[in-house]
Amino acid sequence: MKNLLILAILSLGIAGSSARAQQVPPQLFSGMDGYTFLPDGTPIPIWGYGWVADGYITLPGPLLSYEQGDFVQLNFSNPSPESHTIHLHGLDVDQANDGVPSTSFLLVTGDETTYEFTAAHSGTFLYHCHVTTTLHLTMGMYGMVLVTRPDMTLYEEGPAYSEDIPLLFSDLAIETNLDPVGSYPFHDIRPDVFMVNGVSGDQLEASDRIVHFEPGQPLALRLGSVAYSLIRCIFPEELNAVCYMSDGRPVPNAFAPDTLDIFPGERFTVLIEPDADWDGHLPCEFWSLADGTLEGTESIHIRDAALEVPNISWDQQNGFPNPANHHIQWSGSKQLTVTVFDARGNFVTTERLEDGVLDVRNWPNGVYIATFPNGSASRFIVTE
């Protein structure tokens, strides 16, 4: 009875604050056992952040969204074997919540904490681990923070827009991620994978990665970088791009960029209002800061939502037999890489399949999700 009463009081408390949903902790955790996949399907180990409810980490970490004025309590747990922190980059939090081991605190293995701050300014921000930053960030421990306004203006008396498009630039050095312990000295880390929102190359052409617009409805590109390189975005004229903000503040002189350079840690908010029927790319170049060489170009596909979606072959989505008790096969591909998660989102396996056949003998019964490098996915069931 007493327990019920406490529960009731707690529920009231939660109900009372539900108007500011961000306060109810969706808990973030840090992990060191994740994978990301190169466009050719090769799995690369990552460290990173994920939602506790999901149980897995992602590259980049989950987008943290708050409303301007929110008092944020960000609950964070660390079940991973090393210490980590969260540095809230650009949010000007106080020393205790700054996420720097030497001036704030470390979250050791098995510990849990709550970072607190007020999201005073709207805009684009970042978060990342500040423990041995060069290594932990390179390994994937970063994400974006958006602070927005309910009236869908960029800032007080700023321009209105219809949708936020987070675009976080980053890179990774395969050798470092394969052997983080052997990655010293850090100054010769040379990234070889260049990413937008954690993917690169053809992966950016997956249907859910393409940026769709409706004519007359401005999109807010939330551009930020944690790459080693200088990012140079080249805006096609048809996007009608105007840069309004940098580093979570309005710029006094909004300008129409032909190219926009984004240095590591910088952010820009650019409104685009593309011409009707436009279907094209926003090229983003990665330039070495050390010697000025062009290291890679990644292109963000932007398309009028009214345009007919090109036919995509869904052959490999449906495996058979399903349910399976011995093997499941996806047709349409001789060589196929599949990544399987269980129903709770836990990583099960990544395999390169010969003739599309995955052996599921001795797998626990249950529902699994198979994902493929082109972004498609399917469910299958394993029975005895």
Binding site: D94, L135, H187, I189, Y228, L230, P264
Partner: protein, 316 residues
């Protein structure tokens, strides 16, 4: 004496040829300094001017290497750090530079590189500076050895007039270095950095973290509510980008990003060769790092933490 110096300035004759012998050896330097201390007040600029700089050679003790170094010292005493000099904005001025090195060097106001002044080994010269707009302007040696061994500094034009208290003006000379190249430069077989440039040291005022946090000119020590200014010059071969924890800063002057004057930023790119002035309002108590957000530039010889990191300490 006064007549001679002024006449040389007018004629743009830059060598003090009249007593070169005195500058030949370190032994004679004290003698020369005494003489100049007598001569220079006659020039006028006494209230705001650091009127002299000394090109000095010494050793930069860095981890794990100790490499030869050149500096523009504020006195004929080796500290290993370049002096910053102040001048009012919009008024022409000059600086006398004594070359105590065994090599000749070329010195100039780098933004105004049309004319550089040869200062033979053991000699001195007056560098004439035009009226400089408010802000930070690079000054230093432009011969390869002088530049890449680190005799590079800044002129702060009009900045002391902005601050009520000189203690609220800080400066950061930014540098990136490859210590192997420094040995090659010193040995005279340097062929340039090019596309293989891989710096292994990153400095603020010729020091790397953690020594940077002990630098009274670079580590920001202020009281809550204070406004302070930071004069920045990028002398490296790379663009650099500084991230401020705890604060946004206002860009007050910039030689390479004039369109960004008035922007409030927490992550500030400073292009190669750029001079910039930032204003910071210390409205949050505590200790906060400021660091390069290029992740290789926060290492010393590849080890983290190091390089271009300092801190802001705001006393409540």
């Amino acid at each position: 004496m006064k007549f001679v110096l002024e006449a040389m300035a007018v004629r743009k004759v830059h060598f003090i040829e009249y007593f070169p012998i005195m500058f030949k050896t370190v032994h004679h330097l004290t003698h020369a300094a005494v003489l100049l201390a007598f001569v220079l007040p006659l020039q006028g600029n006494t209230t705001w001017a650091q009127s002299e700089l000394w090109i000095m050679r010494g050793t930069w003790n860095t981890f794990p290497d100790s490499v030869p170094a050149l500096r523009l010292e504020s006195d004929s005493i080796w500290t290993g750090r370049n002096a910053a000099i102040s001048r009012p904005a919009d008024i022409p001025s000059s600086i006398t530079v004594h070359n105590t090195d065994s090599l000749d060097h070329l010195c100039t106001l780098i933004a105004d590189a049309s004319e550089s002044t040869l200062i033979p080994a053991g000699s001195s010269a007056i560098i004439e500076m035009p009226a400089l707009p408010l802000g930070v302007h690079r000054l230093g040696l432009v011969d390869t050895i002088g530049d890449r061994l680190g005799a590079v500094s800044m002129v702060q034009a009009g900045l002391t007039e902005l601050t009520a208290d000189e203690a609220d003006l800080f400066y950061w000379n930014l540098g990136d270095w490859n210590t192997e190249s420094i040995w090659q430069i010193d040995a005279g077989d340097y062929t340039g950095e090019g596309e293989s440039y891989m710096p292994n040291q990153f400095t603020i005022n010729e020091q790397s973290y953690p020594a940077t946090t002990e630098d009274p000119n670079g580590a920001i020590e202020v009281q809550l509510g204070d406004t302070c200014w930071i004069a920045i010059a990028n002398h490296g071969l790379m663009d650099h980008v500084l991230h401020f924890h705890g604060f946004h800063v206002l860009i007050e002057t910039s030689t390479h990003h004039p369109e960004r004057i008035g922007w409030s930023k927490d992550t500030v790119p400073i292009k190669r060769g750029e001079g910039m002035t930032l204003r910071l309002i210390a409205n949050l108590p505590g200790t906060y790092p400021v660091h390069n957000h290029n992740l290789i530039a926060v290492t010393n010889a590849g080890f983290y933490p190091g390089g271009m990191i300092t801190h802001i300490n705001v006393q409540p």
